[in-house]
């Protein structure tokens, strides 16, 4: 039933798109934009041109950035991203919150002028409030001050936080937040350290 409905909807959409195309309206410039970008960027250091090759998440979230994403599309995207999360084999999610704080402060990594030999940061403070002491925080993401205190210090919450830092798209399709584990920005140990910053009762986030 669900499949039939989805099929009917996509056929209808294709028909509408086809008609719009015939009328010369609503021209889609995706191909032009991609070709132009490929001709306009040059590789520099670690940043090669394959960074312009979008995966499904990047392509879909770009496509739906100015219109609502249908529920079946966002749910499928979240399921696929969720399935790709690699949880730690040792079942431990909490690392060192002090190291987590350093990772949260650092915006190093993956820019073409960065040395790839140095560890990347996550630059959490660029978008989130975390500890009370750091006043220079951004507001693109929600405040995470008292994250553990509010949400609990349970193993379930630790696992959730690990997954969210590892791949934010698994929980909220088209979130602005990078997929730190999925895209190998942070190592498994670094993700654990960031989880500790959020959930360790001793972390400044929970003071």
């Amino acid at each position: 039933m669900k499949k039939t409905t989805a099929l009917a909807i996509s056929s209808a959409l294709a028909l509408v798109a086809g008609c719009a195309g015939m009328m010369g309206e609503e021209k889609n410039y995706d191909q032009e934009a991609l070709a132009m970008m490929r001709a306009s960027f040059k590789e520099h250091g670690q940043a090669k041109l394959d960074r312009l090759d979008q995966d499904d998440m990047q392509r879909l979230c770009s496509e739906y950035s100015q219109k609502p994403m249908p529920k079946e599309v966002s749910e499928k995207l979240e399921r696929e991203q969720q399935a790709a999360i690699k949880y730690p084999a040792d079942g431990k999610y909490l690392g060192d919150y002090k190291s987590g704080e350093r990772i949260a402060q650092s915006g190093q990594g993956m820019q073409y002028n960065d040395n790839p030999a140095n560890p990347s940061g996550a630059n959490c403070y660029a978008c989130h409030q975390l500890s009370k002491a750091e006043l220079s925080f951004g507001t693109i993401g929600p405040s995470l001050y008292n994250f553990g205190k509010i949400r609990g210090f349970t193993p379930e919450m630790q696992k959730y936080a690990y997954g969210k830092v590892y791949n934010s798209q698994a929980f909220s399709a088209c979130s602005n937040m990078p997929r730190f584990g999925h895209k190998h920005i942070l190592t498994e140990q670094q993700v654990k350290d960031v989880v500790a910053l959020l959930i360790d009762p001793e972390s400044p986030v929970n003071k």
Binding site: S40, L52, M57, Q58, S62, Q111, F137, G138, I185
Partner: protein, 270 residues
Amino acid sequence: MNRKLRTAFLLLAAAGVAVASAQQSRSTVEEIERYRAALGDGNPAELWEARGEDLWKQKRGPKNASLEKCDLGLGPGVVKGAYTVLPKYFADTDKVQDLESRLVTCMVTLQGFTPEEAKKDPFGGPSHKVPMDALVAYITSQSRGMKMNVAGSHPKEREAYEVGRKIFFFRGGPHDFACATCHGADNMRIRLQDLPNLTKTADAQRAYGSWPAYRVSQGEVRSFQWRLNDCFRQQRFPELEFVSPASIALTMFLAKNANGGTFDAPSIKR
């Protein structure tokens, strides 16, 4: 005030801004507006503007010619107000061009430089001054106080605008960032830096109208081409090439969104 003193004062003011913002959560933009106002007409960009005017009139290149006959969009030699209509379609090149790409064209056709020579070294630094920054500072200064008025009606201009929009919303790279990640919503901040929502008219007008800018922290006048280049670096994309088609299409999208706003640059920024 001499330039060194002025720069020192600016740095002190910038430090004051950081402390004030942190303590009172005051908007950084408001604070910068405040010290900009306090400085009055003391923007070091004036030095680039003066050097740019000299370069515009100076005979240079294999043809030993000046740029004074360059058509920047309002006819050969018209500098006043030219920046407010750019980017625009030029019939002689059959391309949509922004200021920097048009200057490259004129350096080739009028002065006889090769395109490679004209495009080489587009961005200067504190101990490394380049003609492009100065020319851009001079020409943009001649549009100060005027309203942005990008036409965008030629089919190639319309296409550049639509492709520019796609590029603005294009998510990619290891961090999944698009321009829109930081510049697509209201009242956002990175650390303490306020971010303009470039999809909204008022923000787009204010932001676009404030470039080029003398960057106090870098001791250099930065062009709009530089602004885009450095945004993509932070987006973790490969390097955006100077005066590339994508850079011009994106500029078209942003400049046209700023139509009707007052152009107020070269400005001064942290």
